[in-house]
């Protein structure tokens, strides 16, 4: 990794829960949801960094924090070395040219009443990034060709409902790419698509990284797919990063018991393979009152007394990081 494109330092987001007026008067503290709690990571140039975990673990909140769509409770975000945590909306608007997003569901993220032309050109208008109509048209044609939406004229004046799921997601990606960003947050970009189309869009994203030298934060619950997409991954549990490292290392030799369980839970598309059975008991605890110490101790089969009392620090081992007192293998 040469230069970091985006860097998160001790990023924390707590969402206050609405309580009744009287309760607010009586209690000193309002309860909060610990959506993201003190996480740090860096994403290098041309890198796809995966954020993996179950629903409710804070993946999407992290994505929104990096986009500055929500304000962090504490912590800092750097974009190409510049602190963007406290930029005003107006200053942020300029930076947003370089930071874009692709959402999960292309059936909901595209306005059904706008034509494909309007959808893809909207960022150009908002950012005033083109001087003439010709220039806008050139940009659109080019970006649509990059997305394999060819011939562009056939799509320009159609509406989202006339396109298939895969085509819609390509339009959403084209919209994110038209301003030539350097960093993209992709929130489960292929999970709503059918299998045969899913791998096509996944491959498109990989080829775009190579062609345009972009960095990605790739949010996904599908750890098997992250193996194909990401250079490095971070596994999240209840707002914390429990393990981080190069994707293949993490998947083949996990340190954290949660990572191991997450990998064991993934079904394998081969009936002759019998996978090791580690089925975790119970479900993710509430993020309002997360367990003391290690947040995973309530479901961990290796948990001991210390895990209940003290939070394990993030330990470094080569290019791997993990937060566990009793890692699954020797350092």
């Amino acid at each position: 990794m040469t230069e970091s494109i985006i860097k998160a330092e001790h990023l924390t987001k707590h969402f206050p829960i609405k309580t009744s007026f009287f309760k607010t008067l009586l209690s000193k503290q309002t309860p909060v949801v610990h959506a993201v709690d003190d996480i740090s990571f860096e994403i290098g140039a041309e890198e796809i960094f995966g954020l993996v975990g179950e629903s409710g673990c804070g993946k999407t909140t992290t994505g929104k924090l990096l986009l500055r769509l929500i304000q962090p409770t504490s912590g800092k975000i750097y974009f190409k070395g510049k602190n963007i945590t406290n930029l005003t909306d107006q200053e942020m608007r300029k930076t947003r040219q370089k930071i874009q997003v692709i959402f999960q569901d292309p059936y909901e993220s595209l306005n059904p009443r706008m034509s494909i032309y309007d959808i893809i050109s909207e960022p150009v208008h908002v950012q005033k990034a083109a001087r003439s109509l010709e220039e806008i048209k050139d940009k659109i044609t080019k970006v649509m060709e990059d997305m394999d939406l060819v011939p562009p004229e056939e799509f320009l004046y159609r509406f989202p409902h006339e396109l298939s799921g895969g085509q819609r997601q390509r339009v959403a990606i084209a919209r994110a790419f038209i301003l030539q960003p350097q960093f993209i947050v992709a929130d489960e970009p292929v999970s709503m698509l059918d299998a045969s189309i899913r791998s096509e869009v996944a491959k498109l994203i990989l080829s775009l990284v190579e062609k345009f030298h972009i960095s990605f934060l790739y949010i996904t619950h599908d750890i098997a797919l992250s193996r194909y997409m990401c250079n490095r991954i971070a596994v999240m549990y209840l707002g914390k990063i429990v393990e981080r490292g190069p994707t293949d290392d993490v998947i083949q030799h996990p340190f954290h018991p949660y990572t191991e369980a997450l990998i064991a839970a993934v079904p394998v598309p081969d009936p002759t393979v019998k996978r090791t059975e580690i089925v975790l008991k119970g479900e993710i605890p509430s993020a309002v009152n997360p367990p003391s110490g290690c947040r995973f101790h309530t479901r961990c089969m290796y948990a001991q007394d210390i895990c209940k009392k003290e939070e394990p620090p993030l330990v470094e081992s080569g290019n791997r990081y993990f937060a566990c007192y009793f890692p699954l293998r020797k350092l």
């Binding site: 189309i197 791998s199 079904p267 394998v268 598309p269 081969d270 009936p271 393979v273 089925v279």
Partner: protein, 323 residues
Amino acid sequence: MQILNIENLKMYFLTLRGWVKAVDDVSFTLEKGDTLGLAGESGCGKTSTALCVLRLLPRNGKIFGGTINFEGKDILKLGEHELRREIRWKKISTIFQGAMNALHPTTKVGDQIIESITAHENVSKKEAKKRAESLLDLVGMGASRIDRYPHELSGGMKQRVMIAMSLACNPDLVIADEPTTALDVIIEAQVLKVMQDLQHKLNLTMILISHDLSMIAETCNKVAIMYAGKIVEQGDTASLYKEPLHPYTQKLVTAFPSIIGPKKELSSIHGFPPDLLNPPPGCRFHPRCNYAMEICRKVEPPTVFIGNKNHGVACHLISGEKS
């Protein structure tokens, strides 16, 4: 023992734009104790086929032909009353898609199970309650949760309630329609484990509908792959995954990423599934097929059975080779 035999089933939906051929000439059989995985992309007719078996079609759906032979009776010939008294839930039950929303939100889960028992069988409420408790135990929830409302339960627990309810009247056949979509991987693994255990314990016959071939690989002993309203390939799970014959199956099987073993290139299929209002002539897959020949555009390929007679495939490449 043969429990279900579907032959040449045709079911179309009437829409404003014409007849949508959702299920077109589908045939398969199920033996006692089988688990059949019905796989395919969205809109290929998986759920519609299941709805035909239960005869729970929406009003605009009409069955145009074929037979559904269940334990010696043709379901399509039964009257509504008989179907309701004898077959539905008692013999064939279902776990509906989206269990999160399939439960009644203001009725206790126990009462919902009791209702499904008393509606189909002549038992006292007390007895039904006892059975509901043992069912909840069976799916690993514990009888103590009988007085909970659905909103007090998590997604995985609600799914277990749905499974318990489907087993309420000791059915011979359970149809599970995407039982684990919308669940997280770890919860999905828990629910699948419950289903597998039950299957062994009760020797259930099941149809598992899913788009996820990885899940089917782990839970089913038979697979049928559907594309655009037709079954393109069916057979034993082991042989079909090892040696897929239809070009569509070949692509689909390798489109799923695997977490173990060497990293293989993921395959993808260009284009998208056809509009079932006007399906393409000949083989419905030919516009997306890399091996399409002249004959594929004109003549519909017949299903030929090869090997141990269990592996059926509808493709001219195979039938041509054979003749």
